[in-house]
Symmetry: C2
């Protein structure tokens, strides 16, 4: 194994340009202070992420995704991850709402694209362009690419989720550099990395159900799977209040 993260394992293959990513059911929150398992999460996130990466590629976003090869595994291009978490926020929620003392759900105009330094040890602190460059995390040209790609991802995902009865509140992206020096979207896009609110009820259909002990965690992941992977009509999740 090449790397084990909090929610995924990454394996080398015979081809040094290809990795296999395995999606686990393990869940962590608040920089791993909270740990648990969400039954079936790995299967959901592998499938959802595969669908979204394919869709984004059709919209001109280069990604590391090559092929879903099993329930929990996908084949991806080998990349070196840029240590910047790119967070796109359409509404205030989570750490943003807390950090700036605003209500969750506040619409952000303009939308906010935020860099955080990917460091568990430091708690993923936010940083600006000059800091990212001065710390050697990325070049100014790369930051411009990240910004443009993140904007395109948001512009593409917003209507896509809306058609499936989901409001995309915010999400986290990671990018990688290929051996050729290209920047491609990496990591995953799933209910682990997006805040998705049911358009009809406002119910949270994402990892906040786990973070905040809201119950019906598995059901929320399954409902996103139904809508995104199976193209099923939205329905409320069992046993959950908004």
């Amino acid at each position: 194994m090449r790397y084990e993260g909090k929610a995924k394992k990454v394996y080398a293959t015979d081809d040094e340009q290809r990795y296999v990513v395995e999606y686990k059911d393990d869940a962590t929150a608040y920089n791993a202070l909270k740990r648990g398992t969400i039954q079936g999460k790995g299967v959901v996130n592998n499938a959802v992420s595969s669908v979204l990466f394919e869709m984004l590629a059709e919209h001109g976003v280069p990604t590391h995704f090559l092929e879903r090869i099993s329930d929990r595994e996908q084949l991806v291009r080998a990349v070196e991850i840029i240590p910047i978490e790119v967070i796109v926020r359409n509404r205030a929620a989570g750490s943003f709402a807390k950090r700036y003392g605003v209500d969750e759900g506040l619409e952000l105009d303009p939308i906010v694209i935020e860099w955080c330094y990917k460091s568990d040890e430091l708690g993923d602190p936010p940083l600006n362009d000059a800091t990212a460059v001065a710390l050697g995390l990325a070049t100014p040209d790369e930051l411009e690419d990240l910004f443009e790609l993140a904007s395109t991802v948001n512009d593409t995902l917003l209507p896509y989720f809306e058609e499936r009865g989901l409001e995309l509140v915010d999400f986290k992206l990671e990018f990688g550099r290929t051996a050729d020096g290209d920047i491609v979207l990496a990591d995953e896009i799933s209910p682990d990395t997006c805040r998705l609110w049911d358009l009809a009820s406002g119910e949270r259909l994402d990892k906040d159900r786990f973070r905040r002990d809201l119950g019906s965690v598995e059901e929320a992941y399954q409902e996103v799977y139904r809508r995104v992977v199976e193209g099923a009509e939205p329905r409320p999740i069992a046993g959950a209040d908004a």
Copy 2:
């Protein structure tokens, strides 16, 4: 009195376009968790800030400063403070070094100009341009003005302090809007708001001596007064190690 801050009081005058600022000896650090008194600080900061504001005005930076009217008081233009602390960093130090896990003194290339949301309650969190606009703290044009003005202040202060045997490591600026809607430099520039390291010895000649209990606090402020206000030759401060 119009307002009492941690280190200054602001009084209205008969002219609604003019305030009087009184500099206190009170010192606080770490968002007022640490409190104390630095004898003579108000006199030093009033004089140093007056000299620097006059010098910056000659270099084309509009400021709120009008006149030093006593040892502890200056007359300034009435402004509405923009709730963004503008931090200019030539080297990593203090909260920046801690936040990003780098050594104090690390040279920053490019230099970093950082916005923090001026809020004691929230602990002055850093924010980026889009967040500042979305939260209604400033317009994009104002942020551009702040950036340009902060750059000019740094370009002007760096050689000015160097000629006086001081390295300008970082500093915090605040800006205000006048009744006419002009943006001017406000608050103060002093050893309370700048990190100043003695070029010869590396000794800290600023509020870090108070924050970190390094001793010779008053002596450090007096030495900055000697160099900046009196134009005296640098000398080491008594009883201090670097």
